[in-house]
């Protein structure tokens, strides 16, 4: 038996006319027609009084009662359906209104009540509760999202700022390292130059040391020669003194010879003409004596000059000895100084070599650092770009979170 209230179902098709029952005429035909109309939902009441047959009359009366009852029930069903439809419409309208207004704080109350609406109301209530719960959670999530996105934005901004500062610092550091690299290169070259100069200085100082040694040897030789000269001068002085003594003797002899010659000449002169020859001989003797004395005088002058020269030579020799001693002393001092200088230069040379090696290592390390800094700068540049993107994304996220919060605010849940 199909549900007469099933509006979804299609009405049953009428049987084709060929298969219809054979036509019934008379009262029975009226009853059949009434039944067919009732079946078609268009009841047509019968007038039982027109039926002659009592049985048919009773059937007509029962048919009328059934038709009336069915009509009543049908009207009731239609009325109920209309109520339910109104309730559903109201519920849908209320839901739409609530959704449009975003007010989920209240409960759904319909103007109509029907048991059939109870599950709908309960379902809508559950849906609203679920929506409330969702909205509440979404609101909280939106708030958290907004807060977090703000924090993310702040962090991203801070990160971007830090990254920019870092990039700037790295750039400056890279530039500084480049300068340091140049400076290291310069220092390495200077250290090499210092080492070379120290080596040259060392060679020069060693040459100087050799020269001082040679100088000291020369000074010693000069002093030795001065001593020998001194001895020679002393011997020469003795010889000269001896010569002087001999010359004195010769001079004395010459003087006496001169005296003898003078006296001989005097006697010759006294003798007059007789002593003429004697006087001539005496005069000749006297000339010889005078020549001798003249010679001895010259020798004495020479001896005096020799004495003076010897004295000067002695003084010069003493001066040479003093100067040689002073030279040896100064040479010793110079040697001590040069030894100290040599030691210092050796240390300087060693230190310069060590500095050279260290600066070479420093230069290599600096170049590596520069290379690393370049790589870091590139990475930082990428990070900076990423940070900018992150900041943009965080900003967009913040904007979306704010938008979401704004949207969620429309829903009133309390």
């Amino acid at each position: 038996m199909p549900d007469p209230f099933d509006l979804e179902s299609k009405p049953p098709k009428r049987a084709p006319a060929a298969r219809r029952a054979p036509a019934v005429k008379g009262d029975a035909g009226k009853i059949v027609a009434a039944l067919r109309a009732l079946g078609a939902g268009v009841p047509e009441p019968l007038d039982p009084r027109t039926f002659a047959d009592a049985g048919l009359r009773a059937i007509a009366e029962a048919l009328n009662a059934a038709a009336e009852r069915s009509g009543t029930e049908l009207r009731e069903a239609v009325a109920r359906m209309e109520r339910v439809t109104a309730g559903v419409d109201e519920a849908i309208e209320a839901m739409i209104r609530l959704v449009i207004q975003g007010d989920l704080s209240g409960t759904l109350r319909l103007g109509v009540s029907d048991a059939a609406l109870t599950p709908l109301i309960a379902g809508i209530g559950q849906v609203m509760e679920t929506l409330k719960k969702f909205v509440t959670e979404i609101r909280e999530a939106a708030l958290q999202l907004s807060s977090s996105s703000a924090e993310v934005l702040a962090a991203a901004t801070q990160n971007e700022s830090s990254t920019s500062a870092q990039a700037s610092a790295i750039h400056e550091t890279t530039a500084t390292m480049e300068e340091l690299k140049g400076a290291s290169h310069q220092i390495a070259e200077n250290a090499q130059m210092v080492a070379a100069i120290a080596e040259q200085t060392l060679t020069g100082a060693r040459t100087g040391e050799g020269a001082i040694k040679a100088f000291m040897g020369s000074m010693e030789k000069v002093r030795h020669n001065a001593v020998e000269v001194d001895d020679a001068i002393a011997k020469l002085s003795k010889r000269v003194e001896r010569i002087g003594t001999v010359v004195e003797v010769i001079d004395e002899i010459a003087d006496r010879s001169d005296l003898l010659a003078l006296n001989a000449a005097l006697e010759g002169a006294k003798a007059g003409e007789a002593g003429r020859g004697f006087s001539i001989v005496a005069a000749e003797m006297r000339r010889l004596a005078e020549n001798v004395m003249e010679s001895t005088k010259e020798i004495k002058n020479l001896i005096t000059e020799i004495r003076e020269a010897t004295h000067a030579a002695k003084e010069a020799s003493d001066g040479n000895k003093r100067e040689a001693s002073e030279g040896e002393k100064l040479g010793g001092n110079a040697m001590t100084s040069v030894t100290g200088i040599l030691s210092g230069i050796q240390e300087t040379s060693d230190a310069a070599r060590v500095i050279h090696l260290a600066t070479q290592q420093q230069r290599t390390a600096t170049e590596q650092v520069v290379q690393s800094m370049s790589e870091i700068e590139e990475v930082t540049r990428q990070a900076q770009a990423g940070s900018k993107q992150a900041t943009g994304a965080a900003s967009e996220l913040t904007r979306l979170a704010e938008r979401l919060a704004e949207l969620v605010k429309r829903f009133k849940v309390e």
């Binding site: 003087d255 006496r256 005296l259 003078l262 006296n263 000449a265 005097l266 002169a269 006294k270 007059g272 006087s279 005069a283 006297r286």
Partner: protein, 123 residues
């Protein structure tokens, strides 16, 4: 002094050269060999400088004194006509009588001295 000339003994005292007759000199000696008291140092001829030589003179019989001179230069023969007496005025001005005259020698006057008289004046 032999006024007729003869052999002269030439000697030097100070810067001046004098001549004396060889007869007035006994001998010529070294001053250092003579005792100081026997020396005649300063005379009318002036003081000697070097005092190298001494002319032994006998001022009196048996006495010898040594006239200290700077140098005995030698002997020279002069003719009598070469000997000139001192001018009277010069003789009057001189305190010594030992200077007896002069001879021109090398265009310069050479004073002639009487040695015994000179030594006696200092004795």
């Amino acid at each position: 002094m032999n006024p007729a000339g003869g052999e002269l003994l030439l000697f030097q005292v100070g810067t001046r050269v004098f001549g004396a007759a060889v007869d007035g000199a006994v001998r010529i000696g070294n001053v250092r060999d003579v005792p100081a008291e026997a020396l005649v140092v300063e005379t009318a001829l002036g003081p000697p400088f070097a005092r190298d030589r001494g002319i032994v003179v006998s001022p009196r019989q048996g006495e010898e004194r040594t006239l200290v001179v700077d140098q005995v230069l030698g002997f020279r023969s002069v003719g009598a006509d070469e000997v000139q007496p001192l001018p009277a005025f010069a003789r009057a001005c001189l305190s010594s009588t030992a200077l007896t005259g002069f001879v021109m020698m090398d265009d310069a006057p050479l004073l002639l001295v009487d040695l015994p008289t000179l030594v006696r004046e200092r004795s």
